[in-house]
Symmetry: C2
Subunit: 213 residues, 2 copies
């Protein structure tokens, strides 16, 4: 029953990109930041619904598969769900189409009440106005013994990390410099204390760093 | 005849630490940032003059040895030489004792004139008030066909990187978060374009990332 964070970060530490526009709602930086992850077989199957078996199967794919294992509930910020990009669309159901890859309850932190959304594959989105501690208590209850993931974005993950609530942090560092966005590492001096930190490089050039209690 | 940069950086991107004090002129953060490098056999021999053969001999040591190979001249900032820490000591000869590990001409960027210092082992320090381009021209001439290293600190290295003057950048990323200091990566968006980037992890947990033209 661990609380986990998995994020893609650039070599200069940006985990949330900020070059989104109505024409390009993810932004070019996000595509570059997540390129190695998006290329994996697991991402293609689980997130894109591609059953062809295409995609990379090396180190990046091993982490991509682990990303989805043992997660019983997720917490994400309003920005990650898309509420900052599409604030006026009451029908907005997230970025992930009709089969969101989560397959568990997802708690979206927002001060604006919205009805819950339920999908056939086990994914449900619940919009809650709560402190991180309150949200975590709800997610742990919903996870019923499985792990809880703090999905992001960077500010939400950093909040939970700074509060000492995270048992395992995995970052996939893309060897690129974005120069702008939201930094994951700000104000986390000494975070490594209390964790074992291991690193592994992937064929793509991505460096996977894992902090484990 | 390449221009090279080799730096230790923290996971949050700090390459120069700023917690120095008269009582602790390197600072605790610097010790933590460079711990894996300082532990190598090469550092102990070349920098500390330890002939006992002690020190680590794995991946970190391989990079430590490469650090000194083929360098014909070096450029460093006044802070790296110690002029900011000991501005009023005309006898200051740097941090490195009677056998500085450089064994080549070192050009120290400073606006304050000082006489050159020469050591028996081939190291000499020359204090020059010059633009980075001018300093590089002098260092390339002194190197006489060998490589030139931009030694640091972070601001000096970043200046040369941003100016497109660096052929090879090696950073040894320590898996620690310092939270303060001088960032290497600021304002270097897109630096990776024009370089091949490779990564390798060491037994110490250090991640070695190399940009090569």
């Amino acid at each position: 029953m661990a609380v986990r964070v998995d994020l893609n970060v650039s070599l200069d530490g940006f985990a949330t990109t900020t070059d989104q526009s109505p024409e390009n709602p993810f932004g070019e930086d996000w595509s570059r930041l997540t390129a190695a992850y998006v290329a994996t077989k697991t991402f293609r199957e689980r997130v894109l619904g591609d059953r062809s078996g295409a995609g990379t199967t090396g180190v990046d794919d091993r982490y991509a598969a682990a990303y989805f294992e043992e997660i019983g509930a997720e917490i994400m910020g309003a920005g990650m769900f898309g509420l900052h990009t599409f604030p006026d669309d009451p029908e907005w159901k997230g970025w992930w189409g009709d089969e969101p890859p989560f397959r568990c309850p997802v708690f979206v932190l927002t001060h604006t009440a919205r009805p819950s959304i339920t999908f056939d594959n086990g994914t449900s989105f619940h919009f809650i106005s709560a402190t991180p501690h309150e949200a975590l208590a709800r997610a742990l209850e919903a996870a019923d013994g499985a792990d809880v993931r703090i999905g992001g974005g960077a500010s939400v993950a950093r909040y939970f990390l700074a509060a000492g609530l995270v048992d395992q942090l995995h970052v996939a560092i893309a060897p690129i410099l974005l120069g702008s966005g939201i930094r994951l590492w700000d104000d986390l001096r000494g975070l490594e204390a209390g964790y074992q930190v291991t690193s592994e490089t992937a064929e793509s050039g991505t460096v996977h760093v894992t902090f484990r209690r």
